[in-house]
Point group: C2
């Protein structure tokens, strides 16, 4: 399996899995604005190790990493570093991915695309048929808890072209889903996203 590089456009409501090598940078771009991106990371050599929100909160001592801090796995090892945030800086690590049951509970009749189905389909296409469904990194999602601990379901504040850049700390599978949620109003309207992968710089040489 070769590592992904270059630009990848992901259609509205769709997902994409990319094999990313350690050191590469991944820029996740909200092309049209107002679009949440559910994001997961799995250790490429053992997908039972994956990004874990509850371990990241302990690692960084807060609800979301700051620039320079790392997301960690369920084995407390860094997997993604937050390198840059060219967005309003509002993201979520509290809310489960949408799934068929969520849309059924919201009153949708018939099938509706969901981030959980996108994750499972993309990882299956990559050869992984038995995976956990971890809490996503919900980029650009604006659902903070208020002082009383109530979740506020607010619209995403991103503008077209807003982005977040993550560095792969280990070889990993990155999965993104352009969240198809169009019932609760947290996306302005489901739109496409773009993922740009810049390869790791060549190993530095000693020119002394």
């Amino acid at each position: 399996m070769s590592e992904a590089t270059g630009r990848h456009v992901v259609a509205a409501r769709s997902g994409l899995a990319l094999r990313v090598e350690a050191g590469a940078e991944v820029e996740v771009i909200d092309l049209g604005g107002g679009q949440i991106v559910d994001t997961w990371a799995f250790n490429a050599s053992d997908v039972s190790e994956f990004h874990s929100a509850e371990h990241t909160r302990v690692e960084v001592g807060g609800l979301f990493p700051a620039i320079g801090e790392s997301f960690v796995t369920n084995r407390r090892r860094p997997i993604l570093q937050l390198v840059a945030d060219d967005s309003p800086g509002i993201h979520d690590l509290l809310i489960a991915a949408c799934d068929p049951t969520r849309y059924e509970q919201l009153g949708v009749a018939g099938w509706h695309a969901s981030c959980q189905e996108n994750l499972i389909a993309q990882m299956a296409a990559a050869g992984f048929h038995e995976i956990a469904v971890p809490q996503p990194i919900n980029l650009f999602m604006n659902t903070p808890a208020d002082a009383a601990g109530r979740i506020q379901w607010l619209a995403t504040e991103t503008m077209p072209g807003d982005s977040v850049t993550l560095r792969a700390v280990m070889d990993l599978w990155l999965v993104v889903s352009a969240c198809p949620q169009d019932v609760t109003g947290i996306n302005r309207a489901p739109g496409p996203i773009e993922v740009r992968v810049r390869p790791a710089p060549p190993a530095s040489e000693d020119h002394g």
Copy 2:
């Protein structure tokens, strides 16, 4: 496997798994005060379904259920209902269970008991050798996020005999761990807990 009833004392730093039938009530008691209890619930007929913090937050629209509300599984089905809270009412659904790596990172030399090891050992003894390690329901744990999103590592405020009562909404395996964390100060001192299981009332009959 018969369902658990009656009183079960769990020694400091230890865990216990109990098979609880739907409708039974489980009272979790902090015997000495100042003690966190990590709690998990697994569907007894399929342990790949388990309590999920990120799905519960969506279900209740907040960081923790109120009295009468239910914790739900990764399939968005109620598994435990919060029936009564005879404690300061401060609990956590954000922080991962302590594990050997956590104690190593905190500078502990050699083995240290942990909630994750208690969970895995108790479920293995019950015959389940392949389980997820979900975010625990951290009863009595006082680690809120402040307005800036920073986790505050505060001491548990429970007094001796404080308790929480949960009703099993499905047949389930309940696992509790008297959290052995004695480095960060969130427990006053690791102490024992008690679990009282009251069986489901007999099915009501129609006396008309």
